[in-house]
Amino acid sequence: MFAAFATGLYYALVASPIDYLQRDTVRIMYVHVPAAWMALGSYTTIAIASLVSIVWRHPLADVCAKAAAPIGAVFTAVCLVTGSLWGKPTWGTWWQWDARMTSVLVLLFIYLGYMALWSAFDDRQRAARAAAILALVGAINLPIIKFSVDWWNTLHQPASVFRSGGPTIHPDMLTPLLIMALAYMLFFVTTLLMRMRAELASQRLEIAAERRAMALEGVQ
């Protein structure tokens, strides 16, 4: 992960060419675009984990969904903040109510609502089930939100990497972008696993505390 970040950042900040229109500010792209991808990727992870949790009741899926949410929310926030910093020199405003920024903002709201629902219950099992349902409802809604916001306003430049007919972005810029995307993905997986381990440990602690309490009651 660190190696990917190091190479990616070197390519992005030093070795990649500057844009003839946007000068050095184009380098924000290498931080911004992978964050946007991972913001969606994290939500997909949550949605799949929630589906697994509802269908097969696998306890690890709940842990995975819960652990992924804050990471995804941070990716979304990073995407919005860097986008805003990028927008100032290129568009002249911090914030444009254009389609993509607005849908990412709504995505952030959905992350926050999802995390709020998780923390609203004392009972872990109930929280997991309710959050899983919400995640799936959100997953159904996300394409509609994206579409409605697109319909509402399209001001952003059209997608330039994933489209039929190959990428329109120059290979010199695409390579560092993809390395950065790989670095982000590795970061996601690493932190996800760390958070899942922490979550499991805290569950174990809770159970141990309960047992101790019950043992003490037995003594009295």
Binding site: A116, L117, A120, R129, W151
Partner: protein, 222 residues
């Protein structure tokens, strides 16, 4: 309670309507709230008729959306607390039917009065008379989606402390498409396609809502 061809929905709705009628002063609060919110906008943006006429449809929609949130917290909570939900399940009533009945009642008692009151707020805001029809049409078509999304959020938060705030947090992002297309219907340029898409979002919300709400209730009753 015997489940007829409609799965007992008719009986459930009748019961709900009687309950709402018994505490009808509570229902009026949402209407007052709706008018107050709508009348706050002129204070905030200034009384210029041109400005208000331009944003009138948006104001009506946002006010209606917020007013719809008010009664959601009490949608399932009382029935979960006093054991009515459990009684219904024990008597063989499907939770999906319960959810549908709640959605219908919420729409009839909260959303429909708002729609009926809309000409008043539209007149207050000086909305051009031509958009009244499309504004009402949009609200009629869009508010069932709000009831459906709201019922899902209410079912997921049964038994949660300060559930009302959480419901708002869950409903508002999901209601964005309804708001966009609903306001779009009143836009003379975009009206036609907005109407179609509003129909799509409402149908989808109505298709998914009962099952998601019933799943939420099932979680709450475990």
């Amino acid at each position: 309670m015997t489940a007829g061809v409609d799965g007992g929905i008719g009986t459930l709705v009748r019961r709900e309507l009687q309950l709402v009628w018994a505490e009808r002063s509570g229902g009026a609060i949402a209407l007052i709230f709706f008018v107050i919110v709508a009348s706050l906008f002129p204070f905030a943006v200034g009384p210029e008729p041109q400005v208000l006429a331009r944003i009138a449809a948006g104001i009506v929609w946002v006010s209606a959306l917020l007013a719809c949130l008010l009664s959601l917290e009490r949608l399932f909570q009382p029935d979960a607390e006093d054991g009515t939900l459990e009684q219904l399940v024990v008597s063989g009533q499907s939770l999906e039917a319960v959810a549908i009945a709640k959605m219908i009642t919420h729409w009839l008692t909260t959303a429909l009065p708002l729609v009926l009151l809309t000409p008043v707020t539209a007149a207050m805001l000086g909305a051009p008379f031509e958009v009244w029809g499309t504004l009402l049409l949009g609200l009629l078509l869009g508010t069932p989606a709000l009831s459906s999304i709201g019922a899902v959020a209410a079912a997921l938060t049964v038994g949660v402390r300060r559930g009302g705030v959480l419901i708002s947090l869950l409903v508002l992002p999901l209601a964005v498409p309804t708001l966009i297309f609903g306001v779009g219907v009143a836009d003379p340029l975009a009206g036609g396609s907005a109407l179609k898409w509003l129909g799509v979002t409402t149908l989808l919300a109505l298709a998914v809502g009962p099952f998601a709400a019933a799943a939420g209730l099932r979680v709450a009753m475990e």
